[in-house]
Amino acid sequence: MSGFTGTTRLVRLALRRDRITLPAWILGMATFLAATTAMFEDSYTRHPELLVPDTQIVIENPGMRVLGLVTGPTIGGYTLHRDALTLAVLAALMSVFAVVRHTRQSEELGRAEMLGAGVVGRYASLGAAVIVALAANVVLAGVLGLGMIGAGQPVTGSLVAGTSIALVGVAFTGVAAVTSQLASTTRGATGLAGAALGGSFLLAALGNMLGTVDSAGLRVTSAWPTWLSPIGWGQQMRPFADNLWWPAGLSLLGLGLSFGAAVVLVGRRDVGRGMWTERRGPARARSSLLSPTGLVWRLQRGALLGWAIGLVGFGLVFGALSEQISGIEGAATEWYATFGGEADLLGAYWASMMQMAGMAVAAYVVTLLLRLHHDEAQGTMEPLLATAVSRLRWFAAYAVNALVGATLLMLLFAGALAVTGGLVLGGSAALLRDLVGAALVQLPAIGVLGAAVLALVLLVPRWSVGLSWTLVVAAVFVGPMFGPSLGLPRWLLDLSPFTHVPNAPAVSVSPGPVLGLVAACALLAGAGALAMHHRNLALPA
């Protein structure tokens, strides 16, 4: 097939470019899984009698069923309930970034044009990108499995577990192959694939939450939405319990169909353009665009809209599920009791929802602030700073947009939660007031991460992207969602800004931690601003 001529060479080129990136993703994920597995293995070998009741706690609680599929009282299964969703999202992102990097991005930057002028077939770039992403997922499956075996888990279950996570990556390899043909920009292709990932998470979460529990209270049979989700397909392999291989066929079938669709689309579009072509725009700028803050708003409003739709969707769904929470009895109440009092189960549920939304919004803020780095590295900052705009004003434009965007997103989430929560429970107005307060309390913690990212961008521009994401992931893992259940020491938990957020509305807000977070935020932003005034810009040659 002459359309694929040169694929092998392009695979080698892609592997050369990704020789650090892909191994770093794979090793990071494997280390995380192996470490948490070892921790649970240690804990349950010392107290084996706790495994069954702990599994029952998780299963009785629809809020916790959101996080993963409970397959039975096994250490491996218990670990996967905690880790599988995070790992699945990471595997999907690794694959999406890899495919987009070698297809849409290389077209956008004009590299594909040079390659296309050589003896390279029309489909070679797409083929090479998919092959590289697939290879990374095969390695990922093996390394994840070996990590669990190393942490003392059964061989078959471990290998099925590794495969079930890597298959999410495989499915999203196909998704990104298609979105790279639809959108004409890197950001657009990644954003579309990200939206598909969000939908896939929501479907799997709904399926598990609404699933039926067996009579022993140890196994969940997922409801139908799970079967529409690539994340769900991975979970349905039920590692350490049933060890099913056949759901893998769904992921492979998905990849095959989407790859075929991508090939058809490549054949119907021009190089450098997506299926959705450019429209013309206004000849004059609106006055709202004519300031640094207005420009940043314009550059990120599309992304903000995407995040807003996602958060409102999650808010509506989780608000509607409030009724189930109020019906919880027994051991599951203990989990929520760590957030608030036993008396206020619902408050604790909302507090945990706000925590989750806060972390999601923090991720949005980081993507926004990292644009400041891209401005510098790609040179768009140069014509701007050659006008009468000071560095501080440009920096402040990003900070203002981050603050406004984060506030909007949190308020929208709180509003959506209150709308459906109020419908099923009654008392919308009071609920809205409580939830808005709880949403706003998240902002200082988000601000600390944002300010840290700004400081990184301004102090160590070359390393800022990697360090910023490491910081976010670390803050989430040692934060209240995962840290306490992983048995991490207090000082480590205290390092995450999320640990210091009051659990509103379950408990009343004390000003101390909030002011502390605001101070940390100001300190980091100040350090960044100072650094910015003294250094050369790292513009492209």
Partner: protein, 324 residues
């Protein structure tokens, strides 16, 4: 001069030198010196050509002048201020066209022109329309849909729509077709006629010759030569073709004579500028029958500098800055 802004008027009067750079040093890390005691002087109201091979330090110099990079040593004076310290105030009085035009891909050309003009302190709407017309630029297209030449036009229209004292142009026409090149030259000459100063970094010799009052040639981070074209020519060897009645063999031994090819009474050679008079005196003794002398062409002038740069070990192709 038509000066609408009283602030700008005051500044123009007080500043007779637009750019005065002396001994400018810029290092990137401990081992790479991009600018090595560079001197550059642009008088108010002149169009100053800034020439040099790739990687000689032209863009670095302009970025120092914009306060985007910080000088490691030397003195930099821009419109009477310090470009690092007074960046914002100075940027109200200048406009810049980068060599590599990186703009926001999802904005239209028209939006970018308005944005950059507004952030500089305002633009002249009538002049904007006129320039769009002259450069034949469609302002409704998104930046990502423009070719390199059209992106350059966006930057040019954005810069020239503002009436400022100084224009910094970094290879502004490398993507323009000959028709647009002519429009560009007209616009620059109009700006000069209005008393504005222009620093024009360029590789296009005809453009430099047509537009520039003076030029500075930069090589490996230093100013190799600076002056008007006539001054530069005077620094360079004159070529001579001569026929004499008596044999011309002694020519090769005269001081200041180079590359001599002699056949009986016919010789072709070049002469150092300081020795031309002596050589003529000697030639007269040999009974000159005919003689043609020609000054060096611009190409010869520049190629001499560019070639020497290529010949130097460790410099030239691919090396953005010269390692020391």
């Amino acid at each position: 001069m038509c000066l609408h802004d009283p602030d700008i008027g005051r500044d123009v009067v007080s500043v007779s030198t637009a750019i005065a750079v002396s001994g400018l040093v810029k290092d990137f890390g401990p081992r790479t010196r991009a600018l090595d005691h560079l001197d550059l002087r642009v008088e108010a109201g002149e169009v100053h050509g800034f020439l040099g091979p790739n990687g000689a330090g032209k863009t670095t110099t302009i970025r120092v002048l914009l306060g985007l990079l910080r000088a490691d040593d030397g003195h930099v004076d821009l419109l009477g201020g310090d470009p690092w310290r007074d960046a914002v105030a100075l940027h109200r009085r200048l406009a810049y066209v980068p060599g590599e035009v990186n703009l926001w891909p999802n904005l239209t050309g028209g939006e970018v022109i308005d944005l950059l003009g507004e952030l500089r302190g305002g633009l002249d709407a009538a002049r904007r329309e006129e320039l769009l017309e002259r450069f034949q630029l469609d302002p409704t297209k998104k930046i990502r849909a423009y070719s390199k030449g059209n992106r350059q036009k966006v930057a040019l229209v954005a810069a020239f729509s503002s009436d400022v004292e100084l224009y910094l142009l970094d290879e502004p026409t490398s993507g323009l077709d000959p028709l647009m090149e002519a429009v560009f030259q007209d616009v620059v000459q109009e700006r000069r006629a209005a008393g504005r100063s222009i620093l024009l970094s360029s590789h296009i010799l005809s453009e430099v010759e047509a537009l520039c009052d003076r030029v500075t040639i930069i090589r490996a981070g230093r100013a190799a030569e600076s002056g008007t074209f006539d001054e530069l020519r005077h620094l360079t060897r004159t070529s001579v073709v001569v026929d004499t009645a008596r044999p011309l063999e002694p020519v090769t031994r005269w001081p200041g004579v180079h590359d001599a090819r002699v056949r009986d009474g016919h010789a072709e050679f070049s002469v150092d500028p300081g020795e031309l008079n002596h050589v003529l005196a000697h030639l007269v003794e040999l009974e000159v029958r005919s003689m043609v002398t020609s000054p060096p062409t611009l190409e010869e002038l520049f190629l001499r500098h560019y070639d020497e740069d290529l010949a130097r070990p460790g410099a030239g192709a691919g090396a953005e800055v010269t390692a020391r």
